[in-house]
Amino acid sequence: MGAKAASEPWVGRPLARLEDEALLRGKGRFIDDLAPVASAKHAAVLRSPYAHARITRLDPARAVAAPGVVGVLTGADVAELSRPFPAGIDSPIPHYAAAYEATRYVGEPVAVVVARDRYLAEDALELVEVEYEPLRPVLNAEAAAETEACVSDRSFSYGDVDTALAAADLVVRERFRFGRWSCTPVECYGVVADWNAAEGSLTAWANFQGPFTLHSVAAGALGLAGSRLRLITPPDSGGSFGIKSAVFVYVVLMGLASRKLGVPVRWIEDRLEHLAASSCSSGRVTGVEAGFTSEGELVALRYDAIEDVGAYVRAPEPATLYRMHGSLAGAYRVRNVAARNRVVLTNTVPSGLNRGFGGPQLYLALERTMTIAANRLGLDPAELRRRNLVRADELPYRTPSGALYDSGDYEGCLDDALELARYEGRRDEARRARADGRLVGVGLACVVEPSISNMGYITLAEPAETRGLPKSGNAEGCSISISALGGITVRTATTPQGQGHRTVVAQVVADRLGVEPKDVDVLTEVDTSTSPWTVASGNYSSRFSGVGVGAVAAAADRLAEKIAAIRAHLGDETASLRRVAGTAHWNPEALPPGMDGGLAVTAYYAAPNLLPPDEDDRVASSAAHGFVADVAVVEIDAETGEVGVLDYVTVHDAGRLLNPLLAEGQVRGGLAHGAAAALFERHVWDEDGNLLTASFVDYLAPTAPDLPTPRLGHRESPSPFLPLGAKGLGEGTTMSVPAAIANAIADALGRDDVEPPFTASRVWELLSR
């Protein structure tokens, strides 16, 4: 790090992070480290013990009278002071920030107690008197898909699936289940809310992964014009992986508590609350019908997806079901593709963004199907994939459902992965091991990783005629200002939660302004009242390296032009940045004629290739598409069912790598979440809807001994559509790993009825069956 040739750009270098010094010293500034407003009181949330119940009586009087208590906000208050949250699907069940009249999942907020400190607030929770009349919960989305719990049912067809299936030599018909899991950031949710009664406005500080999308949803619920909800994110956020997009519900809840009680309110979620009631992935059951020729060509693909979104359709859901819509065919050339998408409510926590976001669910079904077909056709699973991969010379390639795959060499990546994994040798060794009675298997997955979502895809949940105003991509904004002394400050709205955006932004700006990254101060706090307004969605669908950086580059380029023009006008091409800035600020008269004073630029960037869904339901659901090829080798202990990952290889092509050190960190992190979803993590509810995985003792987030040490390969095929050629890369391995490991498990066991997570107990049960 540090040393570089004068001509060598900073972008592309594995620069260690600017963020690290403060974090390593314990000087990070996370939400619970801040006291942004004086004398905030502490909130604790009373939560429903029932999955489904009518609230017949709620009396907070004893709690209100308890020592140190300021007051109590009830569900009835919430219903009176706010409106239901708007969502992408109209549902007959209103969703408020707290349960009103009925509770619909265990953990749903019922009341908020505000007190001098959290200990006293929790004491008083026990004094709120609530009587419930339990109702029968709906817990199985598959069983409820034919009932009124199904709130959306749409079918899509591209090409002629029926004819192609009828003519196919082999039709694979299987059902795949992907349960609900959560990436569980180590920092839970946090909100500080300060209602201003005089102005009728709310200022809230929250570790919200918005920052602007879903702001409108929160403002709508509060009945506030957008400018009256000022939402501020702290500089540091302790991980999100999508999960913190649902913090907006608590911005509203604590905002209402502050409004009712007349004090600023501070709420820091605890882990038990987080596991029970924050958010988690959707659950999906996918029926697949896939037709193949005897040569292994995939000629038709039909999905029947049932999506469990929990108790409410909470924005941005049902996005998980539509995020991959352009990529229904995965990495393959098949032109006949159909899907039926049903969204079903159950009495469980509402779903939301979770790393991978629809990808793990889709690819478990598709990539298991490819391997099953290969085995039935007597082909090697790698060969079957090779015969179907979109070819390098076909890129850019328009998929049947509308995505535009931008760049890459899928077959080349697969070859790299096979070579790195010694695939042929591993297959032979596994065969020999199985002949000796050991349970060793090799699995593959090839996935296209979409990044930078077209927010318009969510409108596919509605037919074209009722879709409303067109929506497509969303812009990112960036402001760069240079002080009179030449100090450079960049402001972005990408709300990093650990990805290292400050470092990469500094690299991009340094190249353009001819300075060093350490000279660039990057503010990652977003303040919706002072940051340039866009509907920027932070890290949503790995958008930073494409459009986040696109806005930074646009702003820096414009500023560089202005600086160059000032230098030229001064007649001094080597004038220092400080002199240029001094001129712009202190002596605007010396600027070129017609030039504005000051030295600041705000620029916007939106991906160029994202149109709203068309009348035939085709959508370019993402702006960029990376590719991932994985090989997993597993061995199962026949006595215990424990799965050991003997080797894990992943080869990733996400376009240009802006900082290889950080890119590798994203691949490793995504892989860890994928492996966790494959091997350990699921939320489990009992037949009454009680959450059984309610603490980290039962919810098995893996630690170091539980995870493989992967071996990584990279290719760099720049995206032709994005300014720096970089695509998102934070989610690809989360999408690929569950499928690759499931294929390896199936190979080891010689059976197709395998279903993640492959915990020892579940695999042992499978072995006993």
């Binding site: 260690a16 390593l24 990070g28 180590v186 920092e187 956020s237 992190g669 630690t703 170091a704 992967p710």
Partner: protein, 152 residues
Amino acid sequence: MISVDVTVNGRRHREDVEPRLLLSDFLRHGLGLTGTHVGCEHGVCGACTVRLDGVAVRSCLLLAVQADGSEVVTVEGLAGEGDLTPLQHAFRRHHALQCGFCTPGILIAAGDLLSRSTAPTRDEIVDMLSGHLCRCTGYTPIVDAIADVADA
């Protein structure tokens, strides 16, 4: 209220606290040492790990009053005002932290391991990390960083 006399990062504090106050809350909100993070409050995630009389402990599973008469080191005490420690440098070099929320607890626990065993094996490092949750890195770079210092 009970009086507590505790030395934290070399500085002595005498405070009156509620008997039920957690050590983690005392450090964070009583003393303003917010580098110690709270991730689960049931002893699993390890984010709140501090050294109490030289031993790595979960500050969320201890009461402040239990630290009476003891010496506590938190992440803020590792480098003090000086240069980062070799372990902190190694974490940066190996990209062993992303969001940085779990990092203070892991730095403290790794320091404890390195103080007891000058040359821990990779397996011993991995074993020590079984007491910590990191959701960003996949752990490999953390193991690499600790091993780097252990080798040095």
